[in-house]
Amino acid sequence: MSEINLNRSDLLVGGLSAADYHLQIAGENAYILYLTTQQISPGAALHIQTAMQLLQPLVGSVLVELLPSYASLLITFNPLQHSHLTLRPLLVKALAKPAAKLATSTAKCVELPVWYSEQDDLDLVRVAKATGLSVAEVIALHSQCSYQVYAIGFAPGFAYLGELPAALALPRLSTPRAKVPAGAVAIADRQTAVYPAASPGGWHLLGLCPVPMFNAKQQPAMPMAVGDQVNFVPITAREYSLLGGLV
């Protein structure tokens, strides 16, 4: 658990030690790797990224899929070709490999423009009131820090970003909205996200992002992946519509 708090360069010199994780069965065709410390933190995310990169060479030949989350990694295989018994030593060996060349070569830094809007169908003004901040302070706090993509799920293209400054942390809405618009930039607890499509949702909405979070017709379909860094850049209403945002 102390390893979790090491800084980035320290983590890049080795793989995962046996004390960092354990493998649990997750059905006839899967293991789930759990970090010893189950918490949402940049250190945990980096450990999962390390595990992903160490196991990636096995995907296609031995493994079917790696599905990362905050502090776990679901590892799926073809049960007609492998068994838990034969796979475990392969995984343990791969995870122990030095990961010196991991670096951050695959991690991207993504800038997402946001029109922070005081319109009444969003919650910007209400969030300012609830946190005791001014609207400008809310915008500054939300846009001045860099977030990490911790997990992608809930819906195609829905990325959980953290960590939101504590001053902005609010519990989810007691009654979820029936319809959150596509592109809504939202916060809840210590996380933030952009709704990829219109859907029900219980997060507080601060603004609108004109960049599609998920486009099935494009390659890649998403502007970001787990492990990437995201920054929000405030834009005006006019810039929002020039960038193709729908009002």
Partner: protein
């Protein structure tokens, strides 16, 4: 690739979806697996018309689908027991049927089981999206129009490839043991469970209860999962960090009523899970409807491994017996 239309949907019935084996390894985008709820019947439908294993077909739930042949073609209907008619005359499921242009084929309501599979020789042309044609309505992904929509009246189905010319259409249906393998019977359904995930967070008493009691399929069941009703199971934790959910995972939400997660499950979730139902038994569960009784029994990962291999070997033997060319077989 040919684009000749062979079938037209006259009525889609309750729910008709374009499916192939499913969309794999796309969880990192938040995309679920999709694919046939009853893989056994899916495989047989394609095998009976000599299609490659991953050919696209129609998964039909509950009943009421009517199709018209626009050109001569060969089809097979497998899965649930239902009254099948060709131009109003009863015909049998689980065998290849030659249709002539203008013929009308109608599926009645499912009388045992819930899902039927309709394959056409050559497979249905449906462009792959993220590697699969599987329709996931919730995501708006897959299907004929690549928008996740179910099939509607008037939809025209073309062949993906030329039909295999070596299909024997004079055969009788396959053996009852094969036809009924995933269909509900007189006794409670037995679901083999591989303990895993948070199994250790359930007390010995809670686990004993879970295996001892009979559960029922609740009215809340769909392609995402089957919610069960029965004695509530308690877990020492109610909420975890969201984590990847594998096929067949049995999630226990705070109300203690288990949910077995199937093809269209959410990719991540934070409820405790006691383990996973063996795939072979998930297929049978997906043929069950509200009120079906079931029991769970624990098996080891090694038992699960043996069971999947035995089932694969049995399938190969059965294919051989029915003269299904081994060239159309695959291991998955």
């Amino acid at each position: 690739m040919t684009s000749m239309t062979v079938l037209r949907i006259i009525s889609p019935g309750v729910l008709s979806l374009i499916q192939d084996q499913g969309r794999f390894a796309m969880g990192a985008l938040g995309l679920t697996q999709g694919g046939p709820l009853d893989l056994h019947s899916f495989r047989w439908a394609n095998a009976l018309v000599a299609n490659p294993v991953n050919s696209t077909l129609i998964e039909h739930s509950v009943g009421g689908l009517t199709l018209q042949a626009v050109a001569n073609c060969v089809i097979a209907v497998t899965g649930a027991e239902l009254a099948l008619t060709l131009n109003g005359k009863a015909v049998q499921c689980w065998q290849a049927l030659a249709l002539k242009a203008g013929d009308e084929i109608a599926l009645g309501m499912c009388s045992r089981g819930l899902r039927a599979y309709i394959a056409v020789a050559g497979g249905i042309a449906a462009p792959a999206q993220f590697g699969s044609s599987a329709t996931v309505m919730r995501e708006g992904i897959g299907g004929l129009q690549q928008n996740g929509q179910k099939l509607t009246a008037g939809a025209e189905l073309a062949l993906a490839t030329k039909a295999n010319s070596h299909i024997n259409t004079s055969k009788a249906p396959v053996a009852a043991a094969i036809r009924q393998r995933t269909l509900p019977g007189a006794t409670p359904l037995q679901l083999r469970l591989i303990e895993g995930y948070q199994a250790a967070l359930f007390s010995a008493t809670a686990r004993a209860q879970f295996y001892l009691h009979t559960y029922q399929v609740s009215p809340q069941f769909d392609r995402m999962g089957y919610k069960l009703s029965g004695p509530a199971i308690r877990c020492s934790t109610s909420q975890l960090l969201s984590e990847g959910i594998s096929y067949g995972a049995v999630q226990i939400p705070p109300d203690g009523q288990p949910i077995v997660l199937l093809n269209d499950r959410q990719t991540l979730g934070g409820y405790p899970k006691i383990g996973n139902v063996l795939s072979l038994d998930c297929w049978a569960l997906a043929q069950a409807s509200s009120g079906t009784q079931l029991n769970f029994s624990p098996i080891t990962a090694a038992d699960a491994h043996n069971a999947t291999h035995l089932a694969a070997a049995r399938l190969q033997r059965e294919y051989q017996h029915y003269g299904i060319s081994p060239t159309v077989l695959d291991t998955l």
